[in-house]
Symmetry: C2
Subunit: 281 residues, 2 copies
């Protein structure tokens, strides 16, 4: 497994792989890898000759009040997990390598970036699309892999790729959950034992929403109320949002039809968790 820390070197290596006719599958990560990431790497390895991942905690996508400094990091463990997953290349730059002191450029997907998670984190998705554009230009993948756990992020990146014509196929892979149903996330380590148990309400509430839809309910308002009420039974849970939107446009839907997503963000103490469920009506 090759570990590359310089942009220049990564670009040269990618271009040499391309000249050899090898395809590259790419999984961008912020490290602190879990089974969710590993599932993306396995898929990248299945679909491509080469599996490249990046490990970079991107300062641009954290607001000043957020957990950039304390975001969990463990590069030794990450490299071991990557090696076991059959990763060929780890691109692991530092922040100075990625952002010059006079960095001025930004990539933005309007409308989609200012709603849902973008409402409480207005600069977040601009940071994501900017760094992902950079990583795409550095790694030159044929395919890139994102988790459905960050549904809005994945959809925004798909839209960016479509609009800006990146010659890259995006694959969004299913949410990987703990055996008890909690969606895997690097931030789960922040949860106290008690919060960890309380957080199970998220997946349960989404399942209850899905059940209502199976039972024929089509009014988003009713489904959202039920989900909110269920989450509110956990006193420490502070709801950021529960929304039902079109899976392509991310626009709110009053009545469910076609491909729809139930999305939620809820805080347990200082830990903000997100989860979602895709519904085809």
């Amino acid at each position: 497994m090759k570990i590359i820390r310089k942009i220049n070197e990564m670009q040269k290596h990618a271009s040499s792989l391309k000249r050899q006719g090898l395809s590259i599958g790419f999984v961008p990560t912020m490290g602190y890898l879990h089974e969710g990431h590993i599932s993306l790497m396995r898929q990248a390895k299945t679909d491509n000759d080469i599996c490249a991942i990046s490990i970079f905690v991107n300062p641009l996508q954290f607001s000043p009040r957020e957990d950039f400094k304390s975001y969990p990091r463990d590069i030794k463990r990450d490299l071991k997990l990557a090696r076991n997953a059959g990763v060929d290349i780890v691109f692991f730059p530092d922040a100075k390598e990625m952002y010059d002191a006079d960095f001025l450029s930004e990539v933005y997907v309007s409308k989609m970036s200012g709603i849902l998670c973008g409402l409480s984190r207005p600069e977040h998705f601009k940071g994501v699309t900017t760094v992902v554009s950079k990583l795409f230009n550095i790694v030159s993948p044929d395919r890139a892999y994102f988790g459905q756990k960050d549904f809005q992020q994945a959809r925004i990146i798909e839209k960016m790729v479509e609009d800006l014509n990146f010659p890259i196929r995006i694959r969004v892979m299913p949410i990987i959950r703990e055996p008890d149903g909690l969606a895997m996330s690097s931030r789960n380590v922040y949860l106290s034992g008690r919060q960890r148990l309380e957080a199970l309400i998220l997946n349960r509430a989404l399942s209850e929403g899905a059940r209502l839809i199976r039972d024929g309910i089509r009014q988003s308002g009713r489904i959202i109320s039920t989900i909110k009420n269920l989450i509110s039974t956990v006193k420490s849970a502070k709801i950021d949002y529960v929304e039902i939107v079109d899976a392509d446009t991310l626009k709110r839907k009053k009545l469910l039809d076609g491909k729809t997503v139930i999305l939620l963000a809820v805080k347990f103490g200082k830990v903000r968790l997100i989860d979602n469920k895709i519904i085809k009506v």
Copy 2:
């Protein structure tokens, strides 16, 4: 010479050229080609195996009050000129092919895009960087060529390429002038016979500025005043700006040192012309 109208087809063709180990030099244009464009194509042909150009009048970079609809177009003539210049590929999409009805993405270089020409045309450079990002992703060039005539544009694109790590080398080629000194521009056809003569003041004023600097003057203010006074001797000339800035950062310089540019934009009737001169002090 291959004429390609579909993004998909252009991407496939570029990727096949790459697999053959051929390098691509790229000249993005809005058509109505003149010797300035041709000089870029010749350089692209010299430096690369393949010379590709695009002809696309980009609606995003025109404000509603500007000349998008009336911008001069003559595809037959353009194709003939391109063929004569040894161009291998002309990418010639229509606006629907480039921009879906639900297009949402933008690429922006902050600070540099809101000054000089960006002051009176606030959305202009965002339109330029967005379309150039698209074209780079569609054509996958090794090198791309821009004219120094649009100095600010070229510098913004260099900055974007640097910041976002496009694996592309940018070359900025010298201004090509008519025998009497007027910088070549597709918009010169708008000038009446009289305006055409009056516009000669621009190059003359820039030369006068350069002469002052050769004579030892270093205060930007004095040089700018002299240039403005000279231009004002032509009654129909309406100055948009005359500025002296650092050639890298585009920041204003009170005292000249290092690589500096004198930039100006002046209207003759409805025709807005730009010109500039690089000075090494």
